[in-house]
Amino acid sequence: MPPKSKAATKPKATETTTTTNPTTITSQTASQPSEPTTVLERSQQRYEKTRPFEAARRQQGLSKLSKEDQKGWICDQLLHLTNRLPAASRSRLLGPKASKEIWWTINGTNSIVRGLKHKPEPHITWGTDRNGHDVGSYTIERFDERFRKRIALTALQVSSRVFRENVEREKRGFVDARSGREIIVTEREIDEEKVRRSKMAALKKELYGEITGKLAGSVEWEDVVPIPHEEPEGALAAIAYPAEYAEAMSYLRAVMTTKEYSPRCLRLTEHIISMNPAHYTVWLYRAANIFALGLSIPDEIEWLNEVALANLKNYQIWHHRHLLVEHYYPTISSDPDALAQFAKQERDFLIAILSEDTKNYHVWSYRSWLVGKLGMWEDEEELKSIEQLIDEDVRNNSAWSHRFFIVFSNPKYATPGKGATEKDERVPQELVDREVKYAQNKVYLAPQNQSPWNYMRGVLVKGRQHLASVQGFVEEFVVKLGEGEEEEDVKSTHALDLLAEIYAEKWDSDKADLCLRRLAEKWDRIRGGYWEWRRKCLTQTEKEKAVAVGEAEKGGEEVAAA
């Protein structure tokens, strides 16, 4: 290749002096800039100082520049183009020879190579502050102030790193070579570090709007490397986690991975539960911590009571309590007084929470489990407290269900393994009578309330009674059935339903059918399909009855024939 460089350098000497085109504004004629007011302005001025053609180019465009300035501009572009390339590809792209030539050319012009490389741009060059403002728009004084703070932060960070290094060394039993002593981190140093951390957090927040998490800033969590939430972009139902929650979760992941059980983990679970009480993972981990550390169960239960009252609809709380009691029970099971005392405490709390939310499914589930666990079957207080709830609201079906459980699942007489809708030979008769009476008294209060009807029916079946044994009672709620629209009155559709069953039980299909028909036609039309099915079932049993009777007669004839 011929050395073009010569050709390129030659005109330089001539043209520097001959540019006299009147329409061309040269760098020399551009007006002198005024004193800069902002950082951006200052750096823009500095940038232009090394590029005398820049102001002219901005105003007039490239074509209006003098030849010399144009060349300067080209060289500037070349310079920065090659600078922008990574070093490796720079030589590959151009080759050593071409590179050399470029530098030759650049040197030939009077380009100032050591100027600001990039044109100062708002937001980009100086970045933005915590409020999203361009730092470049700061006044010089304000910028200097910010700069000092940054230096202060860096200094703090260096000291903090030294401290952390020492903590590490202390752990490893590192001996200082000079003093020959083991490194010990003193209380004072820890206190100093705490002060340093809070200063750092304040500075980070002020400078960058960066909120240092409670944990990342605390000395206590020093040794834990948090595992941040990992999720690809575009993950579904992704939540923009509040910083505090995200941080706590990343520490939780870390300590769960290392299976750490410690007081600080316990505090971490409390912290997360306060932000998201429905987090089953945290609850399970909390229980594991309590058991591993052998902490006091009554203390935990006391803490839990408050959390439960503040989160009535929470589910996890009740399983946690279940685990606690499972763990605690063996320590008191041999002491009847302690057991009774504990049972009372638990009941008192359950009464309190059920007064807030009378049908809370999780609370009732826990309660029935507790009765079985602590053997509260014979506990009169338990039955009394249920009766009180039923007195307050006779329609509280949860209370009725619990009553059925404590009365009919008592292991003293209940046959194990019996289904709830199966009869049980061993249930005492007086209990059955008592419960039927109880339900009937409650029916009188509000005959259309289904709870005591279901209860009574359940009791009759369990106690192997014919449904017909309550026919008189049931008929009180059904007046002149089928005797005309004017005459007929039904005080309870549940009575009519049960009456149909009673008639069916007595093989009186016509009357049973009438009850079902009236339910379908008038008294309970929403269940039309169901009543229709019940009527079909009646015909089915009719047929079976006919077959049974027929077979019996046939059998009789055969016997006679024999």
């Binding site: 139902a237 939540i239 429905a278 089953y280 499914y361 289904g419 199966e422 259309q448 008294w523």
Partner: protein, 536 residues
């Protein structure tokens, strides 16, 4: 031709004209050509445009007589009294329960009677299913979600299932979410098997169920392959309890959800049934399915319904889990009556429906809630299958239970559909479906209300009779028989008029797996094709 006794609305005219298209010669077309032929306007709207005065020459006499043209066409919508008035039998005693119940009726009635509704309703007083808004609501719920959603951080897999399932039922193609479901599910899976609520959360049966169903909904081998089946199987073994049930997570509670979900996972992924020796239920004889049905039985209560765990109160959500679980284990005709007191169960289920609201409640003396459209309403296809006739001829009405065959509808489909369309739709620009009027819509209710709507609009026919069991077993222990049951689904056609528009029919889902049959087949077929892994 059905003739209304009161008033006439544009829609009827359109149908009328569609039934008797004008021929070129001006003669009446054959009345049995009930659908428009080539070139005849196909949609109701086009028909409306096509109506001219001339068209009325085809109106039959009765129609004209009962609808003099000079009468302004502003008819009273046809809403049965049942859904317009408080119940006939009502007590005077006021308690907290009755106060809430009365208030709910008071809140629902204006919606049911469309009293002060600015809404467009059809002749039967029903607004349309606002698909567009509900679709938008579900798509938005797939995120990104703002910070206050931290409360559902452990339920994010549910969001995937609820939203994708709801969209599927409304006819959306969700396969475009495949990539994101795969990516999201990966971060939720744990090496020790199963899926948690999110990155670093403990595996839980509920979240695993939701993830697997979401994967089945988007379909595709790439998606199925996300699931680590071997780890899943080991994890399920660690949850299996000696009494037959399943814990929901290691150290978690044991309840009937666990039993249902385990049955779903085992069958959808075609997992081996053997137990690992470190399973709490390992005894050398039992397998993953042993005792599940017995566990379900122990959850039936004296009321006839099903509770979460033995000895609790009967609750709608658990009734669905119980029935669906049994229907997966074996043919519902055989297994449901073998383990549950069917007459009591049907009674309790039927009582879950209230009038005038029309919707279902979850427990005795509790309020209606849209989600029980699925939990309680969704029990009916399973119960109806259990009560479907097994014989033929004179035995036509007989079922394996010895009870009568179920009628076409054991419950009031009309009531449920009214409750859903009138009370459960959020008609503001938010969209979505809800528990009841004045509650916020959410993806949970949106999905389960739609599931309920779907089951009210379809009927199922269980094709197969129970297969014989080997060796006199009473329960299937070596093979899952219910999962193979063939469920044929048909649109439910009411003998009377259909109260909702045909365009408001949503897609059917499998009565036990709660996703479309095609998706059940897709994922089961894929894993059945894999000989799998050595379980020992």
């Amino acid at each position: 031709m059905v003739v209304r006794t009161k008033g006439v609305r544009v829609r009827n005219r359109a149908i009328f004209i569609r039934k008797f298209p004008k021929t070129k010669k001006g003669n009446m077309a054959a009345p049995n050509s009930s659908f428009p032929q080539e070139g005849v306007a196909t949609s109701a709207q086009q028909n409306l445009d096509a109506i001219t005065d001339d068209d009325f020459e085809y109106v039959d006499e009765e129609f004209v007589l009962s609808h003099p043209p000079q009468q302004p066409a502003q008819p009273e919508p046809m809403i049965p009294d049942l859904f317009k008035q408080p119940p006939l039998v009502k007590d005077d005693l006021i308690t907290d329960t009755s106060r809430l119940q009365d208030q709910t009726v008071e809140h629902c009635l204006p919606f049911l009677t469309t009293e002060d509704g600015p809404l467009d309703v059809n002749d039967y007083g029903l607004p349309k299913l606002n698909r567009e808004k509900h679709i938008k609501f579900l798509k938005q719920s797939l995120g990104p979600l703002p910070g206050r959603f931290v409360a559902v951080d452990a339920s994010r897999p549910w969001y995937l299932y609820w939203c994708l399932s709801g969209l599927t039922m409304m006819g959306e193609d969700v396969s475009s979410y495949r990539e994101s479901v795969i990516e999201t599910a990966r971060t939720m899976q744990n090496e020790s098997g199963g899926f948690g609520g999110g990155h670093g959360q403990t595996s839980h049966l509920a979240t695993t169920y939701a993830v697997i169903l979401a994967i089945a909904l988007v379909g595709g081998e790439e998606a199925y392959d996300v699931i680590d089946r071997k780890a899943m199987w080991k994890w399920l073994c660690s949850l299996k309890q000696p009494d037959g049930g399943f814990q929901v997570c290691v150290g978690g509670e044991e309840d009937i959800r666990g039993a249902y979900i385990a049955a779903v996972i085992i069958t959808l992924l075609d997992l081996p049934l053997d137990l690992t020796p470190d399973s709490p239920a390992y005894d050398g004889r039992s397998n993953l399915l042993t005792g599940i049905a017995e566990y379900v039985r122990s959850c039936q209560t004296f009321e006839g319904g099903i509770s979460s765990q033995p000895n609790n109160e009967a609750h709608g959500a658990y009734a669905f889990c119980a029935l669906a679980c049994l229907a997966i284990l074996d043919n519902p005709r055989r297994i449901i009556p073998s383990y549950l007191d069917v007459p009591r169960l049907v009674s309790w289920l039927s009582y879950r429906q209230y009038a005038p609201e029309g919707g279902f409640s979850g427990r005795t003396n509790k309020l209606v809630d849209g989600c029980y459209s699925h939990w309680a309403g969704g029990c009916f296809p399973l119960i109806e299958a259990c009560l479907s006739p097994s014989g033929s001829g004179s035995e036509k009405d007989k079922t394996s239970t010895g009870l009568a065959a179920a009628p076409e509808s054991l419950y009031s489909r009309e009531g449920l559909i009214r409750y859903i369309l009138c009370c459960c739709q959020d008609q503001t620009k938010r969209g979505g479906l809800r528990d009841k009027p004045y509650k916020m819509s959410d993806p949970y209710h949106t999905n389960y209300v739609l599931s309920g709507l779907s089951s009210a609009q379809h009927q199922w026919d269980l094709d197969s009779d129970p297969l014989p069991l080997s060796n006199g077993d009473t329960t299937p222990t070596l093979a899952v028989l219910g999962a193979d049951s063939v469920w044929n689904v048909f649109p439910y056609i009411d003998e009377k008029d259909q109260i909702y528009e045909d365009s408001d029919r949503v897609r059917p889902i499998h009565p036990a797996y709660a996703i479309p049959q095609k998706n059940v087949n897709g994922i089961r077929g894929y894993f059945q094709g894999h000989s799998g892994f050595a379980s020992t």
